[in-house]
């Protein structure tokens, strides 16, 4: 969505509130409920979307007026940054609030309100130029051209393999055009250690891949970036995580979307594949493991009830985890020597998944 349209939506939102006040009414706003129970799977979009349940934020209700005020302020803040072409972060927004006499308990609360605004306007916050703090990275033979308005960069081209530490996935990269790509797949990697190893082992060359570091649970910018690589360049996306419930869910969120972002579309990559490390790989490759703790197990039991895990493959992996009650890190392959994962594991996986 271009900036002008986003700005128009923000203005319209402000006008609705303004008109209600002008008429002597307590302003109120209807928002689609983002509770887990209002999330349904949309087979056409192949992601989770919000159901029909609607909640109202009304200034007449003392329990809602605070969050309504916060919501109007967040819209105001977004309008300001966007009209100044000034990208900001969720953290910036949180710290800015106090200067306007708006109080948030913590950043979690302000993040929630930003998500409210996304829901009300059906606009992802990246389009308001509000980004998360954490940045993940990309490395590979892909040339992009900046479209960000900064004249120092506008129209400039750069190859994403030109910096050996990888390039940060931020607002400029997200809005850049893809000019030329010589890779034929994408590997998204959970840990920074393995990402760096893959670059030094020339995995990008050996497998003709673009490497993306998700830095744990992939930020939305990264998820959008993966989606663009998949949509626009037709590259299959493979996800490599730790062999534990948290790693498994990192893959799931990239594929099916997160409950938190069910109000937004085009953040997920439905065709992406979790290549490993699976629970069943632990046994097959006799990986060194450590026991799960109670938190791991609780999370497994919870996800077992999650509709996203109903598919037989995912259900099988969950039961396997619950059965062996052990987990393994990506690095655990190093017991077979440093290059084992590159020489043996990756080729195995690609051949079985392709």
């Amino acid at each position: 969505m271009d900036n002008e349209e986003v700005l128009a939506r923000l203005r319209e939102f402000g006008l609705i509130i303004y008109e209600q006040l002008k008429r002597g009414e307590f302003p109120r706003v209807k928002i689609k409920s983002r509770t887990i129970s209002n999330i349904v799977y949309d087979p056409n979009l192949r992601q989770f979307i919000l159901g029909d349940r609607i909640i109202t934020r009304s200034a007449a209700n003392v329990r809602q007026i605070k969050s309504l005020t916060q919501l109007v302020w967040v819209a105001f803040f977004a309008y300001k940054s966007l009209s100044a072409n000034q990208p900001t972060t969720l953290r910036d927004l949180y710290y800015n609030s106090e200067a306007f006499g708006i109080k948030f308990r913590d950043q979690k609360e302000s993040n929630e309100i930003v998500a409210d605004l996304e829901t009300v306007l059906s606009v992802p916050r990246e389009d308001f130029m509000i980004f998360p703090e954490e940045r993940s990275a990309v490395f590979g033979d892909l040339t992009i051209e900046y479209t960000s308005p900064d004249p120092d960069y506008y129209g400039k081209k750069i190859n994403l393999a030109s910096h050996p530490d990888g390039m940060m996935i931020g607002p400029s990269l997200l809005t850049a055009e893809f000019v030329e790509c010589n890779a034929n797949k994408v590997i998204a990697i959970e840990t920074g250690g393995l990402f760096t190893r893959f670059i030094s082992e020339k995995v990008h060359k050996r497998f003709n891949a673009i490497l993306v570091h998700t830095a744990g649970q992939a930020p939305r910018a990264t998820r959008r970036f993966l989606r663009r690589l998949n949509d626009e360049l037709g590259l299959p996306v493979y996800i490599l995580t730790d062999a534990d419930v948290w790693g498994m869910h990192i893959a799931m969120v990239i594929i099916s979307g997160s409950a938190n972002a069910a109000h937004l579309t085009e953040l997920n990559t439905p065709d992406a594949k979790w290549m490993g490390v699976w629970a069943t790989d632990i046994t097959r490759y006799k990986l060194p493991t450590e026991p799960m703790n109670q938190e791991d197990l609780n999370r497994l039991f919870l996800l077992q009830k999650d509709p996203r895990y109903r598919d037989p493959f995912w259900a099988r992996e969950i039961s396997e985890f619950i059965k062996i009650k052990r987990k393994a890190e990506q690095q655990s392959f190093s017991r077979y020597g440093l290059s084992y994962i590159v020489e043996k594991y990756l080729p195995d996986k690609f051949s079985s998944l392709e």
Partner: protein
């Protein structure tokens, strides 16, 4: 100082005074005062004052000094001791002396010495004064204590309740002795006239009907009644259901306004409400129940499991044995949650019973017996107060809720207006005052 000591006490009032001819009996004869007529009085048997004088006499063997005047040009002074063996006053030093009373002062001063332990009795004494000050808000009470502290309970009103009138006894409230006394002094010659003249609220028709019911000859001379006939008469009087109930002119309750003033002045609660029940009667004795509930302010919550209960009978505080009192039983039995009241709240209860005969359970006159007629009145008096307290608490909660809401609105609405105006690209923020207005008026 600890332990027993000799104290001198001097009590002065500005009351009606004692007529000269009654002085020696009033202060020197136990159980003085035979009553042919009834009215609400502070004492019952004429015991209290004399017991104090007697106590002084037996602990210090000194006489009581009395000065009294009914407001005429003369006041009277005497010193006397009580001849315990013969229950007779012994006047000393030339009997009752007349003294000029140029200011036309009226009242009574009593002075005597006795043995006691003020340090130990002090809390009860101060409590007694404080409670008295509540029930007599029109009285100035000054007390100079042996430890030199001066207590002054200042009156908050000059308004006094109507004094009690004397009325003849009600037929249902008499006993054989009283009938004998009434017969001795009557001038009537016929039983029917005797009954009409000597009893409260009995007319000629009722008297005839009653005597027929009692199977007694209306023309009979009352003086000729034999003992068994008098017993028969009393029994019939108790059984006969058609006497009019006693009226309350012989009673002097203090009234809800004065009671509230008294409580306000001594306890400074946040809220107080008092009610007076309509007159009622038990066994021929008229009575009126007054009750009040005070809440919050300087009223402190009771100790766990206890209840702040102030009891009064005929304007006298009852300090002892509260747990056995009928009021306490009733308070414990009421379902307070229906009134949004919790007995752990800072609440004080007040029960005042006035009657020609307060049904004390013991001779100590410390707590009141459980007469169904009285319990009923106490219960409904308390429930009426409770209902008012509930509506006060509800109003207060509603006011607080509105105020809370207003505070919240005042904090947030201007910001919503400010940011939406900026977003919408308008110059002037919308008028938001009218949104507060409705709320403000509902919070009054």
């Amino acid at each position: 100082m600890r332990g027993s000591n000799i104290y001198q006490i001097r009590v002065e009032d500005n009351g009606c005074g004692v007529p000269k001819e009654y002085i020696s009996s009033a202060f020197g004869r136990v159980l003085f005062g035979s009553k042919y007529v009834l009215r609400q009085t502070r004492g019952t048997f004429g015991l209290g004052g004399k017991m104090a004088i007697l106590y002084g006499q037996i602990t210090t063997h000194s006489p009581v000094k009395i000065i009294t005047s009914t407001g005429g040009p003369t006041k009277y002074f005497c010193e006397l001791m009580i001849d315990i063996q013969h229950n007779k006053p012994l006047l000393r030093r030339g009997g009752i002396k007349a003294m000029p009373n140029p200011t036309y002062w009226h009242g009574t001063i009593v002075e005597f010495t006795f043995e006691g332990d003020y340090a130990r009795a002090k809390p009860r004494i101060i409590e007694y004064f404080k409670q008295t000050a509540i029930i007599l808000p029109y009285a100035n009470i000054r007390f100079i204590a042996p430890d030199g502290v001066y207590y002054y309970f200042r009156r908050v009103t000059e308004e006094m309740p109507k004094p009690p009138q004397e009325v003849p006894p009600h037929p249902q409230g008499v006993d054989v002795e009283l009938i004998k006394r009434l017969i001795r002094r009557t001038r009537t010659r016929r039983l029917v006239d005797f009954i009409v003249a000597s009893f409260h609220r009995v007319g000629v028709r009722t008297a005839y009907k009653f005597l027929k019911f009692a199977r007694l000859d209306p023309k009979k001379d009352p003086r000729s009644l034999k003992s068994d006939e008098i017993v028969k008469l009393v029994k019939a009087m108790k059984r006969y259901n058609h006497f009019l109930p006693p009226d309350a002119s012989c009673l002097s309750p203090i009234g809800p306004e004065l009671l509230e003033k008294g409580i306000m002045k001594e306890l400074q609660p946040e809220f107080v409400t008092a009610v007076q029940r309509k007159p009622s009667a038990y066994s021929g004795h008229p009575f009126i129940v007054e009750a009040a509930i005070a809440y919050g302010g300087k009223v402190s919550p009771p100790k766990p499991g206890e209840i702040n209960l102030f009891r009064y009978a005929n304007k006298i505080p009852l300090l002892y044995d509260a747990a056995s009192d009928v009021s306490m039983k009733i308070i414990r039995s009421i379902k307070w949650y229906r009134y949004k009241i919790d007995l752990n709240m800072p609440i004080a209860f007040f029960i005042h019973i006035v009657s020609t005969k307060v049904p004390y359970k013991t001779v100590g006159k410390e707590y009141i017996a459980d007469k169904p007629e009285i319990s009923y009145e106490i219960e409904w008096a308390l429930k009426t107060c409770a209902r008012r307290l509930k509506s006060y608490l509800t109003r207060k909660a509603r006011r607080a809720a509105v105020q809370r809401k207003l505070n919240i609105l005042e904090r947030y609405l201007p910001k919503i207006a400010e940011f939406s105006t900026a977003l919408a690209g308008m110059d002037d923020p919308p008028e938001i005052d009218k949104l507060f207005r409705g709320l403000r008026s509902s919070g009054q």
